[in-house]
């Protein structure tokens, strides 16, 4: 394991987001576990551009309040993304540009500098939160995991996925509760190689994004890392707009500096 991304990397990814999806309607009765995963993958990233405003709240165990970050993310396709921090004041104006999985830049207004970031971001967390970089990765679950339907609970498929041999992932086993209507996970449990539940996530308050096409976003996500004494992170969306005709040249270092 190596690396520290610029935390911005995460923020950026936050918004490309496996938890943004288009509702697919009720599931067929005969759907297989593999098909469920494909439907989940399809529900993610099916947009031309997406602009979201989010708030990340990181709380230490036993603390009622935590440090908050607000940022706007503009995404185009699955590769290009630009993130701008709105608060707190000491990071306001900072920005990050993702031109692809291997090319990321950060703009630091305090230094009046743009820096290219390291791309090795695996197993790292964002801003001391419990969001790992792998959460942000745009990989398709169906390509990495084998799935097994272990039951159905309250309108959700309960699917257990196991990493295929040779696939390097942070969590070799995960358990997902997938909403039958929108094919989005509403709850996830991540297990380490020893089979210990190391992290739990809930995704709630799915809302349709503003825009000409139908997209759904969980406006509240809570992640609890059991390895860190139940350290908690909340990601709260405040707005989500889809297909706003964002131009390609919005994703350049110059635009990052210009702050547009």
């Amino acid at each position: 394991m190596n690396c520290n991304p610029l935390p911005l990397a995460l923020a950026a990814a936050c918004l490309g987001a496996p938890w943004l999806a288009r509702a697919e309607g009720p599931a067929g009765a005969t759907i297989t576990p593999a098909e469920i995963l494909v439907r989940v993958d399809k529900a993610q990233g099916d947009f031309e551009d997406l602009t979201t405003e989010s708030k990340l709240v990181v709380r230490e165990p036993g603390q009622a309040t935590g440090r908050e970050y607000q940022f706007v993310t503009i995404s185009k396709g699955s590769e290009k993304r630009i993130v701008r921090f709105l608060s707190p004041g000491d990071v306001k104006g900072m920005g990050m540009l993702i031109e692809g999985r291997d090319t990321m830049y950060a703009f630091l207004p305090g230094f009046q500098r743009v820096r290219r970031l390291g791309t090795h971001v695996k197993n790292q967390t964002f801003m001391g939160s419990d969001v790992s970089t792998e959460d942000m990765a745009a990989f398709k679950m169906a390509e990495v995991y084998d799935a097994r339907l272990v039951g159905e609970e309250e309108g959700n498929y309960v699917v257990e996925v196991t990493a295929r041999p040779g696939k390097e992932v942070e969590f070799p086993r995960r358990k997902l509760w997938i909403d039958k209507k929108i094919f989005q996970p509403v709850r996830l449990e991540d297990y380490d190689a020893k089979g210990v539940n190391v992290r739990s996530t809930t995704r709630t308050d799915y809302r349709r994004d503003e825009g000409p096409v139908e997209h759904w976003t969980p406006f509240r996500m809570t992640i609890i890392d059991h390895r860190r004494n139940d350290h908690t992170t909340e990601l709260l969306m405040t707005s989500a707009r889809v297909n706003q005709k964002v131009k390609d040249d919005a994703f350049s270092q110059r635009q990052l500096v210009r702050g547009q």
Partner: protein
């Protein structure tokens, strides 16, 4: 023997022993059955009593130092740190793949222990480096996927690791042969459980490498375990000793059995009670059996002793032998009942005096001992008569003690003859004791308690040798640590601390920021502006090492100072510095502060700078003239790099060549070379209003990119200006210690901030925390408790004696020998430079209670006899009884545990001293009318 037949009047309120014994003798079988049943039940209950897990219970919760220690620990997540040292195999260093793998395995094992919050080690630590794109990046310092396989790779890794000041002496020893794992305990985790689990896990994972275990959790657990082991080992020894002595004195196995039974029953009932209310066994309460054997056996002893020597009363016709024996027992009780009762109540009261202490386990211990003593008394008045009612013993003489009696008589006569000398000497010794007691040292450092050769002792030595000690003082500073001026104040504090003797390391968030700033191209120095600091911290947000140095709100920072010397001296020196030199509203380094820093830095490097050299350096430290050719060339080079986009990273300018024509609106056409010339010749400071900035903005693709280019130019020019100024200043200095040179350059560079450093908006404040402060708080608490408990015990004992004697004078005399003994004993301890600890402070209570009991017995019999008879006939019994108690305590002096040894020795000495002084002081202090026989004579006359 007047004493034996002198059944005096029983003081009011003290007749219940006779009543209880009478009841037991009338119903012996039910009483014995009740004792047997409760004994069995208590044994079952006592088996369920739990061991204490949280050693922080011994911390006085209301002490301000302790509160601060806890608060800072919670804030920075480093309340308790367990240290695990791992040594490379002989002849090797740490950097072979095999050793690193084992260190990594031990680190992973430590991380997996329940109750461990986070772990630092050389195989887990992240390193701030320049990423491939120039941004700060954190990577594993030792990449476990690429461990060195060849000698060259090993040497390269060694070189890399040993070049990190934050790692060397902290996670890796200076010789590169030992690693240190720092395991931070989660809030609320049990020191003992976690340290035991950690020990096991690391031992198993380290694959045969030598490991040592230190730090507060291991130290506390070791002290606890050692105390427990001592108690388990020594209690049977004490028991055997008591059995042997009582058997020799009584020559009756039943008497021995009864004496032991009263105490065993009392101890088991107390322990069952502890299990019932959920009170755990602490290092203090684990001594309960020994304490009860020492103090609780004397009640049955006195009763049986008197019973054995009494002759049966003359019988009436028809009276059975059993009835006559019962009267004999009641006669014995009339003699010994009141003093034994008062003795037990006084001892219980002196234990209850521990309730004034602010340490909960000691308060509990006081209650437990008081309950045990009271129960032992109760058993003496119920069980002993019940058994003797069924199995009466004939009159018998006790072991011969004539020689002791004669010796005591001579001593007593001497004291009476030389009354003035005796009292004068005692007054002098007591005054001397009082004088020295005021200077007694209280030390609660864990390492004071380690026995040589024990595991924590070895760990302490290992940590001192390899890592510069295990004691870390924390200086918590409040303020806004995004302000450069606040960071400069932290750095100053850090450099002062590092210059102190025995300080091996001082770190703070400033070190992290300077490293990040260097990676960003700003040099190894504190960032210049308030906007830069949070943006640098952004790169390491959430990292464990940052959380231990700075709060996420940036409003509290810690400076960690490690020492291998006297941590309390470090505390005093840092407090003195902070009170004298700390600046609450700093506005950037002044020349005087920089001069101080140069003194400290060179002192820390072992070559203090001479004052005349320092004067020359400061005199020469001046901002260079803008016309200085070195600056002119610097401006030319920097402008060329930026305007030609040679430097793509920091200045997004269009790519041009020096000969290319450029057109700035409102200016004539020029070549780029001419523009560069303008930059080189510009003598104005590179401010935002500079016309050259406007040119750069115009030549860029956008104003934003031009602003970027100007910022890069201005910052680099400031850096070059600073470097020239520092070079010029140092030119006049002559050779300076190489180890200090980078920091000396940095300190001098701080005289030339660009832009000027603004004064902090929020004032700074400081407080000291960490283990040394916890120890100071505990020491203060021990000192306070020691005095408070002794005073309360003395008052309580005097009140009980007042109840017995009905005169204030005699009640006061009862306390005098014990009080004088304790004052002299603790005075001598202070004189010998021996510090006292938590356990030792208990001696004052116990010494007051048990010591005054001897005097009280003396006076009680004096009221019923002549002084000579008391000394000759009761004296030896008192001496034996005292020696028995003292020996009980002295057994503890054979333990491995240092506090236990100290406690045992002092308690035994206080008993012997109180007895000795009783035979010397009481004859001098008592009056003729105190003797019962004399009063009788007068009445007859």
């Amino acid at each position: 023997m007047a004493l034996v037949s002198a059944d005096g009047e029983i003081p009011r309120g003290l007749g219940f022993p006779v009543a209880l014994a009478g009841f037991a003798m009338r119903h012996p079988r039910p009483v014995i059955a009740a004792f047997a049943i409760t004994l069995v039940l208590a044994a079952v209950g006592a088996a369920r009593v739990k061991d204490a897990e949280d050693l922080l219970d011994f911390i006085p919760p209301d002490d301000p130092d302790v509160r601060l220690f806890k608060e800072v620990g919670h804030t920075f997540g480093a309340l308790r740190v367990a240290l695990v040292g791992i040594e490379a195999p002989p002849g090797e260093d740490l950097f072979s793949a095999a050793t690193l793998e084992r260190v990594a395995a031990a680190t992973a094992a430590a991380r997996g222990v329940r109750g461990i919050d986070s772990v630092d080690s050389v195989t887990a630590i992240e390193d701030v480096v320049a990423g491939e794109g120039g941004a700060p990046d954190t990577r594993q310092l030792v990449e476990l996927d690429h461990l060195p396989r060849t000698a060259e790779e090993q040497a390269a890794l060694r070189s890399k690791v040993m070049s990190r000041p934050s790692v060397v002496g902290n996670l890796v020893s200076r010789d590169g042969r030992a690693a240190l794992i720092l395991a931070y305990l989660a809030d609320g985790a049990s020191d003992r459980l976690v340290s035991h689990a950690l020990h096991q896990a690391v031992q198993a994972a380290a694959g045969g490498l030598t490991t040592v275990y230190g730090g507060a959790p291991f130290a506390g657990s070791a002290i606890y375990d050692e105390t427990q082991a001592d108690v388990r080992r020594l209690t049977p020894l004490a028991l055997v000793f008591f059995l042997a002595v009582i058997l020799i004195v009584f020559r009756d196995p039943l008497g021995v059995l009864l004496t032991i039974a009263t105490v065993v029953w009392a101890a088991l009932v107390v322990m069952a009670g502890m299990a019932f209310v959920g009170e755990p066994v602490t290092p203090a309460s684990s001594t309960l059996p020994v304490m009860l054997f020492a103090s609780g056996t004397s009640y049955a002893l006195h009763l049986l002793g008197r019973y054995y020597v009494l002759a049966p009363p003359p019988g009436r016709p028809g009276q059975s032998l059993r009835e006559l024996d019962g009267q004999r027992l009641l006669s014995a009780l009339r003699i010994v009942g009141p003093p034994v009762t008062i003795a037990a109540l006084s001892t219980a009261a002196s234990f209850l005096a521990l309730l004034v202490m602010d340490i909960r386990p000691l308060r509990a211990f006081g209650v437990e001992c008081a309950a045990g003593v009271t129960l032992a008394l109760l058993a003496s008045f119920l069980l002993v008569p019940a058994v003797l009612a069924l199995y009466p013993r004939g009159q018998q003489s006790l072991a011969a003690t004539g020689n002791i009696g004669e010796l005591l008589v001579r001593l007593s006569e001497l004291a009476t003859r030389r009354r003035d000398v005796v009292l004068g000497l005692m007054a002098l010794a007591t005054a001397g004791g009082v004088w020295f007691v005021g200077r007694i040292q209280v030390r609660m450092e864990a390492r004071q308690f380690f026995s040589p050769g024990s595991e924590p002792w070895l760990a302490e030595r290992f940590l001192a040798d390899k890592f510069g000690g295990s004691q870390i003082l924390q200086i918590r500073v409040r303020g806004d640590f995004t302000e450069p001026a606040a960071l400069h104040e932290l750095k100053r504090m850090e450099q002062y601390a590092r210059s102190l003797p025995d300080v091996t390391q001082a770190t703070s968030v400033v070190d992290v920021l300077m490293q990040l700033n260097e990676v960003m191209g700003g040099g190894h120095r504190i960032p210049d502006t308030r906007a830069q600091v949070p943006q640098l911290l952004f790169f390491v947000e959430g990292k464990a090492f940052l959380k231990r140095l700075l709060t996420s709100e940036r409003d509290q920072a810690l400076v960690l100072v490690r020492t291998h010397g006297d941590s309390q001296r470090l505390v005093r020196e840092m407090e003195a510095y902070l009170s004298r030199d700390f600046v609450a509203r700093p506005a950037g380094p002044t020349r005087e502060q920089v001069a101080d820093r140069l003194r400290w830095l060179t002192r820390a490097a072992g070559e203090p700078i001479a004052e005349d050299v320092l004067g020359r350096i400061l005199e020469a430290a001046r901002r260079p003239d803008p016309r200085d050719t070195r600056l002119v060339e610097a401006r030319r080079a920097l402008a060329t790099a930026i305007l030609t986009a040679e430097d793509e990273q920091d200045a997004m300018m269009p790519r041009r060549r020096l000969g290319d024509p450029v057109q700035v609106p409102g200016s004539p056409a020029r070549t780029l070379d001419e523009v560069v010339g303008e930059f080189a010749g510009d003598l104005r400071p590179p401010e935002l209003t500079s016309p050259l900035r406007q040119e750069l903005l115009a030549l860029a693709a956008s104003p934003e990119e031009g602003a970027l280019a100007w910022a890069a130019y201005a910052e680099r020019l400031a850096g070059r200006t600073r470097a020239i100024a520092v070079d010029d200043a140092l030119r006049s200095a002559g050779p300076l210690p190489a180890a200090a040179l980078p920091a000396v350059r940095d300190a001098l560079g701080d005289l030339f901030p660009e832009p000027p450093i603004a004064a902090v908006a929020r004032p700074l404040s400081w407080s000291l925390a960490g283990e040394p402060i916890l120890e100071r708080g505990m020491s203060r608490s021990v000192r306070k408790n020691h005095i408070k408990a002794q005073v309360v015990a003395a008052i309580a004992v005097a009140l009980f004696n007042l109840m017995l004697f009905r005169t204030v004078r005699l009640a006061a005399i009862c306390v005098v020998p014990a009080a004088c003994t304790l004052v002299i004993l603790f005075g001598a301890t202070a004189l010998l430079g021996m510090p006292i600890d938590l356990g030792t402070s208990l001696v004052s209570c116990i010494g007051t209670g048990a010591g005054s009991e001897i005097t009280m017995q003396y006076l009680w019999y004096l009221k019923r006899s002549t002084p000579i008879d008391v000394v000759r006939f009761v004296g030896p019994i008192m001496v034996l009884s005292t020696l028995l108690i003292a020996a009980g305590f002295a057994v503890l002096a054979f333990g491995h545990s240092q506090p236990m040894r100290m406690f045992g020795s002092l308690a035994a000495l206080s008993m012997v001293g109180a007895a000795g002084l009783t035979f010397v002081l009481v004859p001098s202090l008592s009056r003729r009318e105190d003797a019962g026989a004399a009063v009788l004579e007068e009445k007859t006359a």
